[in-house]
Amino acid sequence: MAVMNVTAGQKAVLTLGNTSVLAAPGASGGLEVPFMQDITVNASTGVVRYKTLDSSSEKAFTTPSTNQISLNCLVDEDVFFGAANTTNSIANDGLFGSQNSKSTVHFSVAFEGTTGGSTYLYGQGFLSGLAPTASQDAAVFITPVTIEVDGDLSKDTV
């Protein structure tokens, strides 16, 4: 039992690809999103509550999850606008291009790095929420990124 400490760097890793193979943690050709400041995996289910006449407490059941990956990162030119890549179209188009074309994006979120035995979540979805911003006080472009997950989040190990 141990907390998952990310201070060593390269621990919380988001990898993108146009196939699940390319999006696996540490995969050759995968697009690792650099300069992430934070990342949130949202897998909350909906809840419906109802009352019955024979109970003094509400009853509940859950509805399908709304799965979403959200993060903030500093804008890297190649990652945001794309760099020539013949195998990974997400890397080729960049975050902006992939959002613009509404391409399906496969992703993985590694919690403990990309070394063997590390746990990660994976799935597929669509990029959304890009809003790069910069100011004189913080003169580097920073943008939120959201992956609206299409379907389930699944768990695996590297």
């Binding site: 990310v6 060593a8 934070d38 913080a138 003169a139």
Partner: protein, 130 residues
């Protein structure tokens, strides 16, 4: 090249026709007095003070840092009979911050202090680069 050197080079040229001069010496104490008080009508520029701080921390360890450099310049003149072009001189020293290339923030704050019969202008430059 230190920002101090850039300021000295620029001010030496831009104050050449004024009633003050620019010294390349540091404003150290001589005989218990700072040089800028001992040698009035000379602009003295102190050494660069550099402060590197983290602007953004990242999960992959590629932190982004910003560097703040502060430099102080001093000019002392007779308080009763200031040079006739003192306003131009002050404006020139303040404007010299714009001659430093690289930083995206270039600020200068002027403070004055009157002691006995002389007035000292302190020019606090602040430059920030990422």
């Amino acid at each position: 090249m230190a920002i101090r050197d850039t300021l000295i080079t620029g001010l030496t040229a831009n104050l050449a026709s004024s009633n003050v001069s620019v010294s390349s010496e540091l404003p150290f104490n001589s005989g218990g007095e700072p040089l800028y008080i001992k040698n009035k009508k000379y602009v003295y520029i102190d050494q660069d003070n550099i402060d590197v701080t983290e602007l953004y921390g990242t999960l992959d360890g590629n932190e982004i840092y910003e560097t703040e450099t502060t430099v102080t310049a001093y000019l002392t003149v007779d308080a009763k009979n200031q040079p006739s072009d003192i306003d131009t001189i002050v404006n020139t020293v303040v404007a010299e911050r714009l001659g430093v290339s690289g930083p995206h923030i270039k600020e200068c704050e002027v403070e004055t202090e009157i002691t006995l019969d002389y007035i000292t202008y302190n020019f606090d430059y602040r430059f920030v680069t990422v």
